[in-house]
Symmetry: C2
């Protein structure tokens, strides 16, 4: 593995559960030698991507620039904001755009709700496909039952709440049904007290490239009511965005 | 320069003006040999950070993960969102958090306005210090006139609009005045038709670590009215956030 690949693996190691790392923690996370981890961290320190307090290394604001490379250049993320903002204004709930990232849903744009208590889906968050409305809407682009099954074999469904469906037959049916309906839901399967609705975004060639979704607390609005209220708005946003792609 | 440093330099090259690059464009941007640029781009391709259409390389969603390393771990960016959202709800204008990044202001968190036409300051955007309210508020933490002058010598002020003040004496006075008042403004000095107001955020040790700012179109609200309306709200947000740091 080249120095560049090792350094990027270490950079990805920093997250909420590992806000800072020692050389040996970085070596363990990225599965490289302590000497290689040390070289990488010192290069990152020198380039200004991490700071060092003598023991721990932690990310600096400069790292934000790297994330912007995609967000600042992808036509999808650039065009989406207007449509997400409009949908959020009507719905008064957070509206997000997600794409595939290695079997998970990666949120790449978001219009925050003006509610003080909002769901915690920020840009850069990744969610498992089987339990999220977004993942099911993305999967519903798969036309063949076998393709859906083989996805769940590659990424086995994990129980996240008491409501999470992990049975592959049941999930395959849910995804196929989402394909027929043109939308997907998840009711407290990702997190207790939260449900969500997602619709696929098709580009001008008809390929599903993303989803637009809305999440709400169950205490604020029921799942059927969420679908009734939000589905036409999300479809309008998805259609508008799709035409720009 | 190690492979890691070269690769990061190339990654930073992707932006709105360079959404995709050939090997030779990447080599030129990062000031490395075409052979080194090729090795870096192929490593990035292999790791899933860029895609390749045979000629051009361009960022993939995976790159967003790197930007999250800071945003997902910095107590500042994590705590700020609630305060920004609250201020945005009251003001109905976009409210942003910025920190220093090598002589420029880097926006690391933002609550978007519910106005359809909003100012274009997204997370990851960098603004020059001399012409932005945010930069002036950050600079106002410098207590000595000499420190302010020496900043402008290191980062010479550039004319961005007909209103941009570039005279170092005048700018030094403006920054000192911002320090006395506890806030800074910029009236169409960054962009015609837009003005902004920023207040410093001090951590629990009293050190200025960030600014909270609001921007608005001149057609919607005058600069004096913006200060009257937004200053108490921004100060409340800055104080609330500061206490968590």
């Amino acid at each position: 593995m080249a120095g560049l690949a090792k350094g990027l693996a270490i950079l990805e190691g920093f997250d909420k559960s590992r806000p800072r790392m020692t050389i040996s923690q970085a070596a363990e996370f990225a599965d490289v030698s302590p000497a290689a981890a040390r070289r990488c961290l010192l290069t990152l320190l020198d380039a200004g991507y991490v700071s060092h307090d003598g023991k721990y290394f932690q990310p600096t604001p400069r790292m934000v620039r790297l994330g912007r490379a995609y967000l600042g250049t992808s036509p999808l993320a650039l065009h989406a904001q207007t449509y997400l903002d409009q949908a959020r204004d009507v719905l008064d709930e957070a509206v997000s755009l997600a794409v595939w990232d290695e079997g998970q849903c990666l949120f790449v744009a978001r219009a925050g709700a003006s509610q003080i208590v909002s769901t915690d889906i920020a840009v850069g968050v990744r969610l498992p496909a089987h339990a999220s409305a977004t993942g099911r809407a993305l999967l519903s682009a798969l036309k063949e039952e076998e393709e859906i099954r083989s996805f769940f074999q590659r990424y086995p469904p994990v129980q996240l709440t008491p409501s999470t469906i992990t049975d592959v037959d049941a999930l395959t049916h849910i995804v196929q049904r989402a394909g027929e309906l043109g939308y997907a839901t998840s009711a407290e399967e990702l997190e207790l007290g939260m449900h969500s609705l997602a619709v696929p975004v098709a580009d001008s060639r008809g390929a599903c490239v993303a989803t637009i979704s809305v999440s709400a607390f169950t205490g604020r609005i029921g799942i059927d009511e969420l679908v009734d209220k939000a589905l036409p708005i999300l479809r309008l946003a998805a259609e508008g965005l799709g035409k720009t792609l």
